[in-house]
Symmetry: C2
Subunit: 112 residues, 2 copies
DNA sequence: AAATAATACATAAGAATCTTATACATAAGA
DNA sequence: TCTTATGTATAAGATTCTTATGTATTATTT
């Protein structure tokens, strides 16, 4: 995803949030969207993406619709009801993470 | 560390930053400090911490000083010169990560 | 006095997530 | 024609963490 290890664990959050905005998306589209939105900072590899999508589907957070476009296969994913709930959870977790980490690394206001 | 998977990959950054502030610390002290600073949000387990410290030492980012206090062993860690440089890198990576993720998940300002 | 919690370190098996490599297939561009 | 782009998929290996276990001393509680 990036040379930084911090992105480890973030992929699910990213997928859910993008699907929450875009209604339905297919895998390759997600990789391109992320590359575009982050101006190349973050590149989702297929080896990470597809297993993640399959897992989310298996967990009932995503549902699939297969389409053939230009004689090529596309698997469109969209959030299920549980998927929408989980999106809220994941976004809260991200906000918490950011807050906690900022608190940990920001120079403390010293009272001495 | 937490029920949230987002913390995966953050431990090194946390350790380096704490040592950057506190000059020298020992492992158990780090776990307590993190618990205190995050008000219990984040608990560093020994199974994660000690291997991480050993790895940082092996990489030459930390150096160790063993002391006996109250007949109990303490291994004080402090940043080496390279460790200080790497701390800067890690903090930049964190700032980048936060910025990128906020950009990804924040509702976009639509121009349409 | 005895049991438990706290302090202090360590490692090993397994889970989870990602990288890297490979595979297949079609369409578009050089 | 060869490479790049589009599109999905999996498998081996690396990395990081969880959970469990082990050892040892000191402090606290029962």
């Amino acid at each position: 995803m990036s040379n930084s290890k911090l992105y480890k664990g973030s992929l699910t959050t990213i997928i859910l949030k993008l699907l929450n905005e875009s209604d339905k998306m297919y895998g390759y589209e997600i990789t391109q969207k992320v590359k575009e939105l982050t101006k190349g900072e973050l590149k989702i590899t297929e080896g990470a993406l597809y297993p993640a999508l399959h897992k989310l589907e298996a967990e009932g957070l995503l549902e699939v619709e297969v389409k053939k476009v230009d004689n090529r296969l596309r698997k469109y994913y969209r959030l299920t009801e549980n998927g929408e709930k989980e999106t809220v959870n994941k976004l809260n977790e991200l906000a918490n993470y950011i807050s906690t980490m900022q608190n940990l690394v920001s120079p403390k206001l010293s009272l001495e």
